[in-house]
């Protein structure tokens, strides 16, 4: 079975979870209260752990692929790595790839915003991941199944935590409700991309490794309706959705994010500590 598409799909998940972790970690030391500072940092670490597993898997897919397949994956392999003369590793994929080589969904690269923005983004993404991981743990691909099984427990807590914050802020004070509604207006157009498979994703679906992400739209909407009802929020009417992240076309925030995240490995390649 060709692995290029599976490699790209794994990267897509790895990139998305890495950036969720990166953005959340910007709260470390700046949380609204000590307890929530620790909570968001725990979540950031969970995401980082998930992305590590996925990058390790992606690297092994590349390293074990036949030369013809490697040529197809080449577009997504960091140029700098080729001078290292060693096997591809997780850090190369995370810290040396360029903007157009990243396949994360756009939602995950948005700046952290205020607390309302962060918890709403976390709610939307973990509600999606919950469905995805629950299916992934039954995947025919053993490695993805193992990652799904480990991650579903983490995400189920993230979903619970973020749902409660959405309810608290929505049904809170006038200001908290306003902030949450502002966040909703900014984030909503980035939620559609979650459920639209990229070309390589469709092939992985056809191979029977994953389910079609369109199937997750209905349960996701149901979850959003339930929580929004308690949070006294209106679910936005269907509107135009922004796409592109899964194909490597990113928002204006992406370059700054990568510059900060990758600065160390780009300045001191192969640095360890």
């Amino acid at each position: 079975m060709p692995t290029t598409e599976l490699f790209l799909y794994t990267l897509q998940l790895a990139d998305s979870t890495l950036l969720m972790g990166q953005r959340h970690s910007e709260w470390t030391g700046h949380g609204p209260v000590l307890e929530q500072d620790i909570a968001i940092t725990n979540i950031a670490l969970d995401y980082l752990g998930q992305s590590r597993n996925l990058y390790q898997y992606a690297a092994s897919l590349y390293n074990n692929a036949p030369e013809t397949e490697k040529a197809a994956m080449d577009k997504y392999i960091p140029r700098l790595w080729k001078s290292f003369q060693r096997e591809l590793q997780e850090d190369d994929l995370a810290f040396l790839r360029e903007e157009h080589q990243f396949l994360n969904v756009l939602l995950t690269e948005l700046p952290r915003g205020d607390w309302a923005f962060t918890v709403l983004k976390e709610f939307f993404y973990s509600a999606f991941l919950m469905n995805l991981y629950q299916d992934l743990l039954h995947s025919t691909d053993n490695q993805l199944a193992a990652i799904g099984e480990k991650s579903v427990k983490e995400v189920s807590y993230h979903l619970r935590w973020s749902s409660e914050w959405v309810i608290r802020l929505g049904d809170g004070t006038e200001e908290s409700n306003t902030r949450l509604n502002n966040a909703l207006a900014d984030i909503w157009m980035f939620t559609g991309e979650l459920f639209v498979p990229a070309a390589y994703e469709q092939i992985v679906v056809q191979q029977g490794v994953i389910k079609d992400p369109q199937l997750y739209k209905e349960p996701w909407q149901e979850k959003v309706r339930t929580i929004f009802q308690q949070a006294l929020l209106d679910v936005p009417t269907p509107s135009w959705m922004q796409h592109g992240g899964k194909e490597g076309r990113h928002t204006e925030h992406m370059g700054y994010l990568l510059a900060e995240m990758q600065q160390l490995q780009r300045t001191y390649p192969n640095a360890t500590w």
């Binding site: 030391g29 700046h30 949380g31 609204p32 209260v33 000590l34 307890e35 929530q36 500072d37 620790i38 909570a39 725990n42 619970r160 935590w161 409660e164 608290r168």
Partner: protein, 121 residues
């Protein structure tokens, strides 16, 4: 030209946390209530007091306790109770409370004759 430099402290609250009380600092109105946290470890039979934290309600207190006090697998069960419901003895009462027990050695089970066969006591 006047430049105002604001130094931000933990939490970036800005006006609320400005030094020297220049901000509108009203801790009682702004802070969540304090909760005491009790954790039962895997091997333990009892919940032990591990510390306290702030939370808006019981549900948030349990989740905060999970995030703050069980990061290294310290426990399998959490109790929280709002600190205001805990009544404590007064340190000033220490003399009358505890000292009378000092000379009552017979309250310890040390006056029994043990059979020689009993070795693990």
């Amino acid at each position: 030209m006047n430049q105002t430099i604001i130094k931000y402290y933990y939490g970036d609250y800005g006006d609320k946390e400005m030094p020297s009380g220049a901000g509108q600092h009203s801790p009682v109105a702004n802070e969540w209530p304090l909760w005491e946290v009790f954790i039962r470890s895997k091997q333990g039979l009892d919940h032990k007091h591990v510390g306290s934290l702030h939370a808006a309600d019981a549900r948030m207190a349990i989740e905060n306790a999970r995030d703050v006090y069980t990061r290294r697998q310290e426990g399998v069960s959490i109790w929280v109770v709002e600190s205001k419901y805990i009544h404590a003895s007064n340190p000033d009462d220490a003399e009358s409370f505890y000292e009378p027990a000092n000379d009552k050695v017979y309250r310890h089970p040390t006056f029994y004759d043990l059979p020689d066969e009993l070795t693990h006591m």
